[in-house]
């Protein structure tokens, strides 16, 4: 058995290696012949030669990006896990902070990068953006992990008079580890992406984002590819590190029976006025925080706008009508493509996650490719895609699909991997086919994760579209943001950021409502 597994693994490695070599050879030929978009895809040998020529530049750029990513990763995760524990202990706190959490998640880094660069100095904007990229994913993973602990095991501890804290310590923390690790796995490339986006948004001499931006105008595909590959390598390695860690920690510790208890926690207070007050507080808290941060930062009022300033800009000022018109036109361009891309990315992820259970071989062969393309930080990817796909809507669509697919696939694959053994043994015992087993157990059991994936995807889709618009297509919200940056139209910069965040929050909330309805009918928990 064991030797068989090892042999299979070895075979897989060698075929994987063979496939990679074939792919490289193909790429080399295509590149040498200049078949793609007139040399937009240089052969690997050119890229390597260019990397070697540029070797003196890289250490400083990589060092700067790594520093910001690691610092942001550490700070963001520390805050996220602490917050996750607090939220798991107090559902009321979770409800109160809901607005802030979603806003922190949904705010498109591309939109606030220029704002951060204006109001902070040094490495602070980069670290902040990296931390923000990490916070929501890890916080959600922590809360899901803690709240989906085995309620029967919790009963044992409570039956001995164990306090809330004891339950947390003995049952929930350890039970949450796989979930948190899955979160960190997604968070790690996010931190790199956040750091690069911030470099991109302004300031500083070093960093891969700065380097990329500096090389973008020169039309040197081989250097752009080199930077993209290095950025991908860093993000991919950080992902692989956590994937390896979770593989070592998981294994024989899967729960052995399916927990069927209907969760009782999380029932909101019954009194209507209390509910309304809570909802109001949830909505107002992010705005209060925004206002407080502006006041505390002491940034000049010309640059740093409060919620009141933005409202005035959009509705009361002289140019209000013109500003509204520009904003609405941009939205009409951005929203449709966002939805199409998101739906496609999500469908692809769900299909693939299911296939990974039905056809493990196929997924083994596909996985390395998916990982490489998907951990590639977006900013590094976009210029390359521009070279290949041009500046049309298909570019936007592909970028959106690729940014939504990755987190959705990881979330779903994780959910499907968590389906307990005994639940699948049952249909198998009745001679069910792989597909029947899938339909009866795996898909229903992974439904909560499908919803979680959808929630994760909503703001990402918007971010992907905005980045493509900013960098390439010159349409929609992203372009409006970029233009306003050029015109020093701070009111519009803040308005676009606020509108995109509010939109994300609203869509997110719609998904949550649908999720509650469906899962409640199926007697499943809604992971927060």
């Amino acid at each position: 058995m064991a030797t068989d597994a090892i042999r299979r693994h070895a075979v897989w490695q060698s075929t994987g290696l063979r496939n990679a070599l074939i792919l490289l050879a193909l790429w080399e030929i295509i590149g040498q012949l200049g078949l793609v978009a007139g040399g937009a895809l240089p052969p690997p040998s050119d890229i390597l030669i260019r990397l070697w020529q540029d070797r003196g530049d890289y250490p400083n750029h990589i060092g700067a990006t790594l520093y910001a990513s690691v610092m942001g990763f550490l700070i963001g995760n520390a805050v996220a896990i602490a917050a996750g524990v607090a939220f798991a202990l107090s559902p009321a706190l979770l409800r109160l902070f809901r607005g802030i959490n979603i806003a922190a998640f949904a705010l498109p880094p591309i939109a606030i990068a220029p704002i951060l660069a204006l109001t902070m100095s040094g490495m602070a904007p980069r670290i902040t953006l990296a931390a923000l990229g990490v916070y929501f994913v890890t916080m959600t993973a922590t809360v899901i992990g803690l709240s989906q602990a085995d309620s029967r095991a919790e009963d044992v501890v409570r039956a001995y008079g164990g306090s809330r804290w004891t339950v947390l310590r003995l049952v929930q923390f350890r039970g949450a580890v796989p979930s948190i690790l899955a979160g960190l796995r997604i968070a790690a490339p996010n931190a790199v992406l956040g750091a690069i986006l911030a470099e991109f948004g302004g300031g500083g001499r070093w960093g891969l984002g700065t380097y990329l931006l500096g090389s973008l105008g020169r039309g040197e595909p081989d250097r752009l590819w080199g930077i993209g590959l290095i950025a991908t390598l860093i993000a991919g390695l950080s992902y692989a590190g956590f994937a390896l860690l979770s593989r070592r920690l998981l294994g024989a510790t899967k729960a052995v029976t399916l927990n069927t208890a209907v969760p009782t926690g999380g029932t909101a207070s019954t009194c209507l006025s209390a509910r309304v007050r809570m909802a109001l507080a949830t909505v107002l808290l992010p705005f209060a925080l925004w206002w407080a941060l502006i006041k505390l930062s002491g940034a000049p009022a010309m640059i740093a706008k409060t919620p009141g300033d933005v409202f005035e800009y959009l509705f009361l000022s002289q140019g209000a009508a013109a500003a509204q018109a520009r904003l609405l036109a941009a939205l009409a361009e951005t929203l449709p493509i966002t939805f199409i891309g998101m739906a496609a990315g999500l469908a692809f992820a769900f299909l693939l996650a299911i296939l990974s259970r039905l056809m493990p071989r196929f997924i083994e062969a596909f996985m390395p490719v998916a990982l490489i393309t998907q951990t590639m930080p977006l900013v590094a990817l976009t210029p390359l895609l521009v070279l290949i796909l041009g500046r049309g809507p298909s570019l936007t669509l592909w970028i959106t699909i690729s940014v939504t697919f990755f987190p959705a696939f990881v979330t779903l694959a994780q959910g499907i991997a968590l389906v307990p053994k005994s639940a699948e043994d049952l249909p198998r015992a009745y001679g069910a086919s792989r597909w029947t087993e899938m339909r009866m157990v795996t898909i229903p059991a992974s439904l909560p994760y499908l919803f979680a994936a959808t929630r994760l995807t909503v703001p990402r889709a918007l971010l992907g579209v905005m980045i493509a618009e900013w960098l390439a297509t010159g349409r929609g919200l992203g372009n409006l943001l970029n233009q306003s940056r050029g015109y020093l139209d701070y009111g519009m910069i803040w308005s676009v950021a606020a509108v995109s965040v509010i939109l994300s929050v609203v869509f997110y909330q719609l998904v949550v409502v649908a999720e509650r309805q469906v899962l409640a009918r199926l007697g499943m928990a809604t992971p927060e």
Partner: protein, 256 residues
């Protein structure tokens, strides 16, 4: 002064409301287990046996009525280490070895498992899992997992012992063996025991009294005293007098 009852439920009612369905799980259940007595609850599936136990343990709050364990409120009794519990479902922590699972109650009560290593080992030996101390629950059979849960229930020397079908997944021979062992441990510790079971012979063999429950709403339909001397020996299982008591329990179960 008279010692308080080991377990006392007075007029306990409980209704579950979930997903548009209302289930009256318990109506006016009154049950008193004198200190040191052994009581079994028997009844059809879904009649509220587990609910009685969960309410007595303080895991569920009753809609009406009063609950006392050793004269105290359930959770207070639990915090003092008075209660021990084995659930219908083994409910082991999948990432902990057998030994570390048995140590859970000690940890919850703030005792040091290291200091009671001998007791932990004794309980593991008692349930016949010597040699499996370091195995993970995923590597054990269903019956073995249940035996870990029994060892875990006994490790604190509880004064009041709750058991919800603890022998459900055991084979008949092992089950009889465990019945005899349980009787011995219970007699040694002088604890008050409440056992939920589906086995009539098991209930009669072990108990001073068998409480028969009916469903819809869950209620106590009758209490049957079991007069046999203790310690009871396995030959009792084939005694005609034993069968007579079993028949009375079966009659009460089937109603009229």
């Amino acid at each position: 002064m008279r010692q308080p009852d080991g377990i006392a439920l007075t007029g306990v009612s409980k209704t579950f409301t979930g997903r548009g369905k209302v289930v009256e799980a318990l109506r006016e259940v009154t049950l008193a287990c004198p200190p040191g007595s052994f009581t079994s609850i028997i009844g059809p599936s879904g009649c509220g046996k587990s609910t009685v136990m969960r309410i007595a343990l303080g895991l569920e709050t009753a809609d009406a009525g009063e609950v006392r364990v050793a004269g105290q409120r359930s959770l207070e009794a639990a915090r003092q280490g008075i209660t021990g519990v084995a659930f219908q479902d083994a409910a082991l922590l999948p990432w902990r070895s057998v030994r570390r699972n048995v140590e859970v109650p000690l940890e919850v009560l703030g005792r040091t498992p290291r200091a009671e290593a001998a007791q932990v080992q004794a309980m593991i030996d008692l349930v016949g899992l010597k040699g499996y101390e370091n195995s993970l629950p995923g590597e054990l059979s269903g019956g073995m997992r249940q035996r870990v849960a029994i060892a875990r229930a006994l490790v604190t020397h509880p004064q009041v012992l709750f058991m919800d079908e603890p022998f459900g997944a055991l084979d008949q021979i092992l089950r009889r063996q465990m019945n005899v062992e349980l009787q011995r441990i219970w007699a040694d510790t002088g604890s008050t025991a409440l056992l939920v079971t589906h086995g009539i012979d098991e209930a009669v063999f072990l108990s001073d009294r068998v409480v028969v429950m009916h469903a819809n709403p869950g209620r106590i339909a009758g209490v049957i005293d079991v007069p046999f001397d203790r310690p009871r020996q396995p030959p009792l299982f084939s005694d005609p007098a034993f069968h007579k008591v079993c028949d009375r329990v079966a009659e009460a179960l089937h109603g009229n």
